[in-house]
Symmetry: C2
Subunit: 381 residues, 2 copies
């Protein structure tokens, strides 16, 4: 029982309702969700392939066909071995003239002036070139696939549990390996090696290792990955990392105190844990996403740290680390059973601490249930 045939059918039905003629699922979570064809890992700086703006899987009412730039051809061929619901592959040769290729590709598939949908992070070049060549209008596939992807089926929840377990296991290996003097970069390598050893296919986002304390300021995530601050007594170390397992992402956070923390740090940690618990309790089907955020945020605000909790409470998570809907002020989603969210309150005080705990949480009729099993007690080394 593959889930893809059913997903393609539902996607086609929704496209037909909207009057969309086709979707070009460029490499993305949307392509993975609908077709089972995995994307390759992204390049840290931009890469280029001849015809990359045409690469992906073109889904029409009666066909799903891969379009493979020469440099992606082996990848698509390998993926297509296990995806018989995709009808075939059209290669783009190195140096092939792309204007006639594109015109021919769409000639019998999408009428001139028709509507083509693209994943929201598809290259804008795709729209620029196809507006010029075929006079298409464009929509974002997330309009249909965002809500479809938000509610996870049983197979997806198993993969999410596996991804969470890899994060838990890696963390359990990393904490005993921490040593005074280690830098943020040392710990990043320790975490990533532990994730792969535990079964990760890759990281799901940029591993965040944040040591804070007196004189340890700086951005939480920037352009550079220098050695960073060192583990020293009195400092506070926050982890934020995740793995991809069976195509699904985890996102995990805990805070470690180096030496006995003072009373305020412990109080903030307890607040964070309490806010997380309140957020999880609020994750009941039918609740609005902004209420969930507000419910957890109130705990931190009431204690006087509202300004220090500078980001949203959490985000949907699945094939991508950030998926709709979002647990955020001003958000307009509604919580449904078997949605998965991060719940990740934090307090950031410059030159003092960044304290956060983060789990991936599945929505059940009784509220949120964590897929992670690492305790949330303060960790002191």
């Amino acid at each position: 029982m593959n889930p893809y045939t059913g997903r393609i059918d539902r996607f086609r039905a929704s496209m037909a309702e909207r009057g969309w003629h086709a979707a070009l699922l460029t490499p993305s979570g949307d392509m993975e969700y609908v077709t089972g064809i995995r994307r390759r890992r992204p390049s840290a700086t931009e890469n280029h392939m001849h015809g990359d703006w045409l690469g992906g899987v073109l889904v029409t009412s009666d066909e799903a066909i891969a379009v493979a730039p020469h440099l992606a051809r082996r990848h698509f061929e390998e993926q297509l071995r296990d995806t018989p619901w995709v009808d075939g592959m059209i290669p783009i040769d190195e140096g092939e003239a792309l204007d006639p290729f594109a015109r021919t590709l769409f000639a019998d598939r999408v009428p001139s002036g028709g509507i083509l949908a693209l994943p929201r992070k598809a290259m804008v070049q795709t729209a620029v070139e196809l507006a010029r060549l075929c006079d298409f209008e464009f929509r974002c596939t997330s309009e249909i696939l965002g809500p479809m992807r938000a509610v996870k089926d049983a197979g997806e929840i198993r993969a999410m549990e596996a991804a969470a377990a890899v994060a838990d296991h890696a963390f359990s290996e990393v904490v005993p390996a921490l040593r005074p003097g280690m830098t943020e970069l040392d710990i990043k390598f320790l975490v990533e090696r532990a994730l792969y050893a535990a079964g990760a296919e890759g990281t799901s986002f940029v591993t965040g290792i944040m040591i804070r304390g007196e004189g340890c300021d700086g951005p939480l995530e920037g352009v550079s990955c220098k050695e960073g601050h060192r583990l020293e007594p009195g400092r506070v170390l926050a982890f934020d990392f995740g793995a991809v397992v069976d195509g699904y992402a985890s996102d995990f956070g805990r805070t470690v105190f180096i030496g006995e923390p003072d009373a305020e740090l412990l109080r903030i940690h307890a607040l964070i844990v309490q806010a997380q618990a309140e957020g999880m309790r609020a994750l009941v089907p039918g609740t609005s996403t902004r209420e969930v955020d507000a419910h957890a945020r109130r705990v931190i605000e009431d204690a006087g740290y509202g300004e220090a909790f500078f980001h949203r409470l959490g985000h949907g998570i699945g094939i991508d680390v950030h998926e709709a809907p979002f647990l955020a002020p001003g958000s307009d989603g509604t919580v449904k059973e078997n949605m998965c969210f991060t719940v990740e309150p934090s307090v950031l005080i410059p030159d003092r601490c960044f304290i956060r705990t983060e789990d991936v949480v599945r929505v059940t009729p009784e509220g949120g249930v964590s897929l992670n099993h690492t305790p949330t007690d303060p960790i002191i080394i």
Copy 2:
């Protein structure tokens, strides 16, 4: 003497010639090149920020203003301290209604029905939403910035040399550390740790560690980063990695033989080195990029390995690892002085070997000069 004021002026002049009203430089090499504002490292799976499709630097004829989604605000604030040629920042609050925000943002800046340029890898959602809200047409900034970025100035060449030196240095540290039994994943971590130790701000693309030999087949780059093949006598290990230093990328490759290679492997290695030398010799201003590819390719074809050299000879490189123009069959670029290219011929024989040598090469009137200084002799351990 900052280079950005001049670049912004030239970019504006070219936009005016084309009748473009503005460019929204979303986080990209184009944003870095024109404004000096650095993008953050990309997430391995997709991330999301409220209003991310509006984030970047909006450049009009008389203004350059950063537009910062809430979760990118600290990053932009930090970057803007050193970029006084950017006129200011407009923040997008968490939960802010984006349709009225976008309409107001563009109201006095770009007329309805006007032309807005975007980097070719900008999110297609930006074009979809702004077509709906403002009736804009879209172009790709690469039309102007591709040729501007291709020819490097003296400061850029210094950064390219520094990035190449970091790759050379890391390689010199890695080779003596190779041990029998190490996996591809072990070596990947070894390489990346060495890159950071040598001064990298980050990797420039997905580090490629490819062990080949009898029974060692598989894709050269896929979705997963498993342990991979092991270093064992008789096998061949190809490296493909690079660093970002001062905002510029390197891209480096060498091949290491585990134990004495047979005569054919040595012959292939010599061919590769000869093809690379021919490619470098052909990198004379005025030559067409396809001729450079053909010139090097002929060496490998004449020896009967043409089919095994499955990719283009090289690509432009600078702020991004892949930049126009490309040394490829069917390409239509022209080589100019102070362009930088990779020259990276290879031979892939399934179950036997992947042999490649790769340098970053600067174009001079006398031909290509390598920015790397690692010898190209076969390395046998």
